[in-house]
């Protein structure tokens, strides 16, 4: 298929996935802000729950360019409606729809209708209507539209290259998001493992699990207190967790195996390397290295993989 088409499909699903992750992150932040106690009294700005989205997305500078104070309203306006913010739900849904519009011929009509009606419905919203509808209800709606789109994709799209590139975008974006959210949470909110235990801890880690939809799974698997150690294990190494790094990279590897041929084997090799490290990794080792260092190294590796995918498939550099 055309490289440009593959690129559009890849970014279409990445943008939808990212919109879902932004909604998840904002939803958890919103829920945390409702709790009747103050979080860790470090005195630092990012301890404020509404700072969390800025830390995860790295958008603090552009936020403070547009806003003087950090409030729930400013944050929602910035992360949901601000068309100038490339990571806002507005921008992501619009880009996803533009990617899809350019590739109508590659999509099933149900996929197009799903993504198009999501955008049309979103355009009918503003901050006041969102409040009237309910903040969490809105984030649920974004998640549901993302689930629907993914479901329609899996349920209707022919298993050709287009499908593989669409799914590739979903899994790479998801791995990226899980790594970032885990890193930020670990580092900004609980600087040392000694802070483990207590109510604050419980809500902090509980909210992290909720933000990736893994709270119930954690309970089922460990039937015990929530500890950073286990949360990290769950979200990095467990193969049965659909948002874990391991799961996402196995999917990525399998997809790249189906796409690889002739002189285009490098992305598959890189993904294979990453997934076998996860496959044979142990959580003790991760903590020995340092969770932050481990996650940074992981993000570097998937960046290298992204570059290879661009080079060999999406934005080929032959003259």
């Amino acid at each position: 298929m055309l490289s440009r088409s593959a690129n559009d499909l890849f970014w279409m699903s990445r943008n939808v996935e990212r919109a879902e992750n932004v909604a998840r992150m904002l939803d958890v932040t919103y829920r945390m802000s409702l709790l009747p106690y103050r979080v860790v009294e470090t005195g630092e700005k990012w301890a404020e729950p509404w700072a969390l989205p800025l830390v995860i997305t790295g958008l603090a500078t552009s936020f403070y360019q547009a806003n003087e104070t950090l409030t729930a309203e400013n944050m929602i306006r910035f992360m949901v409606f601000d068309a100038a913010n490339p990571s806002s739900i507005h921008s992501l849904l619009q880009s996803a729809r533009e990617n899809a519009r350019g590739q109508r011929g590659e999509l099933t009509s149900e996929m197009w209708e799903s993504i198009n009606s999501t955008w049309i419905e979103f355009r009918g919203l503003d901050y006041e209507r969102l409040l009237a509808r309910g903040v969490s209800e809105f984030f649920d709606w974004v998640k549901t539209r993302s689930h629907l789109f993914r479901g329609v994709t899996v349920g209707t799209m022919r298993r050709d290259e287009g499908y593989h590139f669409t799914r590739l975008g979903t899994h790479l974006e998801r791995a990226d998001n899980t790594a970032r959210i885990l890193d930020v949470k670990y580092h900004t909110l609980l600087p040392t493992v000694d802070d483990v235990g207590g109510a604050v801890d419980y809500y902090q880690w509980g909210s992290l699990l909720r933000s990736v939809g893994a709270f119930e799974s954690y309970r089922k698997i460990y039937r015990d207190a929530i500890t950073p150690y286990r949360v990290a294990e769950l979200l990095i190494l467990r193969l049965d967790m659909p948002r874990s790094l391991h799961f996402c990279m196995v999917e990525t590897f399998n997809i790249l195996c189906s796409l690889a041929h002739a002189e285009r084997l490098e992305p598959e090799r890189l993904a294979g390397e990453i997934q076998s490290q996860l496959h044979y990794g142990r959580i003790e080792k991760v903590f020995e290295t340092g969770l932050h260092e481990y996650l940074m190294a992981f993000l570097d590796r998937i960046e290298t993989l992204n570059i290879a995918i661009n080079k060999y498939f999406l934005v080929p550099d032959y003259a």
Binding site: M1, L2, S3, R4, S5, A6, E98, R101, G102, R104, G105, S109, W112, E113, N116, S117, E161, F165, L259, H261, A262, E263, R264, F313, L314, P316, Y318, A319
Partner: protein, 472 residues
């Protein structure tokens, strides 16, 4: 309904329902008004949902609009269609011969039928095409011929569109919509099908591939998603099962065209291009074009790729050349033209010019290179200041304009807010030229929704109708 002033497609001049509309009109009379309302709504919802929209230039970037669809079809009886079909094919055959001639021997110029300067100094005449031989000698593979009916019901050719004519997707989609809304109508009457147009188009494109290629790859080249006809580009590519490419997807290496795919460069043999000549190759035409492919012309001249339509067809569909088409038919085919031209004054000629300036308020004035209903003057509908502004423009560059009488375009019953009322229509059938011209029985009927308006262009608020050609 009162007797119409104009020839009406359903009632002719006398007001009684014509035989080819008899069955439809009985059906319409029996149709409860609320069902019609519901069906019209259904059509609109479907067009929106499916995204059958077009972009409007000059409005917010990327804005999309629906073209109003009218559920009363325009019906053409078999005997009238037979004449139209023969006339249109004759015309396209002559136009292709003319294009071949002016880029080769130039017999028609030598014979003095057309002043050489009018052709050779035309902006749209492309010297790069001189002496280049094309597969099957076909230049205008896809032609849209605009037909109107006027006066007491005779057909006229209003315009030949030989560059990148659009609208055919609406012909197909309107038919699909009518069949979906009113399937009962199609069982009862022999209405000629049109949905196989994409198959014929692909067949035509494959037939004109460079010689010696056994399994040619065809692509559709679009300027991109902001083009007003982008929906049509995606529709046709999808229907033909070919890649929809943009300039950035193609590259030229060793005078051959390739597309950039996830499996490396893949050779392309035929390009159905929906990009104007000027933008095709920045090395030869406009250097600022981002839509084209550097080196494409070189591959084309080497005979390694076919462009449909060919480069340089614009010289034949320009409104100053239009007047000569009947002469072309006589010159190349030794036949009399089957379809009439509309009388046309050429403002470059002093005599024509002074007549037109004296009668400006009764005439239609068009730009020679204009299209889409932009930049035209409709004398009877224009205000005094508009008339005098146009007069200045004509005097400044008379060669840029032609004038025609204001035609009493035929009308067709159409749903408007006040109910069913006659509205002016035209017709654009599409001719495909491979070894022989072929035509799908039908075309795009455009309708001016505003009362009294003669402008049917979608960019000016016109709508469309399904067009039925009766098989008997």
């Amino acid at each position: 309904m009162s007797t119409p002033r104009f020839y009406d497609e359903m009632r002719g001049q006398k007001g009684a329902i014509l035989p080819h509309y008899a069955q439809y009109s009985q059906w319409l009379e029996k149709m409860p008004p609320e069902r019609i309302v519901q069906k019209r709504h259904e059509a609109e919802v479907t067009f929106h949902r499916v995204g059958i929209t077009f972009a409007v230039y000059g409005e917010e970037a990327g804005s999309e609009r629906l073209i109003p669809f009218d559920i009363i079809p325009r019906i053409i009886p078999a005997n009238e269609w037979a004449v139209l079909e023969a006339g249109i094919k004759q015309r396209v055959r002559a136009l292709n011969l003319f294009l071949h001639d002016i880029y080769h021997e130039q017999n028609i110029l030598k014979a003095g039928v057309i002043e050489p300067e009018k052709v050779l100094a035309n902006d749209q005449y492309r010297p790069v095409m001189r002496g280049l031989n094309l597969p099957g000698n076909v230049y205008a593979h896809i032609a849209g011929i605009d037909i109107v009916r006027a006066g007491s019901g005779e057909f006229y050719v209003l315009e030949d569109n030989l560059r990148v004519p659009s609208g055919v997707s609406y012909m197909v989609e309107n038919r699909k919509m009518m069949m979906r809304l009113f399937p009962e109508l199609f069982g009862a009457q022999p209405i000629a099908p049109v949905e196989h147009y994409p198959d014929l188009l692909l067949d035509t494109l494959l037939a004109v591939a460079p010689a010696g290629v056994s399994n040619p790859t065809v692509v559709l080249l679009t300027p991109g998603s902001y083009n007003s006809a982008y929906f049509e580009h995606t529709f046709l590519a999808q229907q033909m099962g070919i890649e929809l490419v943009e300039g950035v997807d193609l590259m030229v290496r060793d005078s051959m065209v390739y597309m950039r795919t996830t499996r490396g460069p893949q050779r392309v043999h035929v390009i159905y291009r929906r990009v104007d000549d000027d933008f095709l190759d920045p090395q030869v035409f406009r250097p600022d074009s981002m839509l084209g492919v550097p080196g494409l012309m070189q591959a084309y001249q080497a005979g390694n790729v076919t462009l449909a339509n060919a480069i340089g067809t614009g010289v034949a569909d320009d409104k100053s050349m239009y007047v000569h088409v009947p002469d072309m038919i006589r010159f190349y085919l030794s036949e009399e033209p089957i379809l009439k031209n509309v009388h046309t004054w050429q403002l470059r000629n002093p005599e024509d010019r002074s007549y037109v300036l004296d009668h400006l308020s009764t005439l239609v004035v068009k730009e020679v290179h204009g299209s889409g209903g932009y930049g035209m003057l409709i004398g009877p509908a224009a205000t005094r200041p508009e008339l005098s502004a146009f007069r200045e423009r004509i005097l400044a560059t008379p060669e840029k304009y032609i004038a025609q009488p204001t035609l009493c375009l035929s009308t067709c019953p159409t749903f408007v807010e006040a109910g069913i009322a006659p509205r002016h229509v035209d017709l654009r059938p599409f001719v495909l030229s491979g070894p022989e011209p072929r035509i799908v029985p039908g075309g795009l009927t455009r309708v001016a929704i505003k009362e009294g308006s003669l402008v049917v262009n979608s960019s000016q608020g016109g709508g469309t109708k399904d067009t039925w050609v009766m098989e008997q």
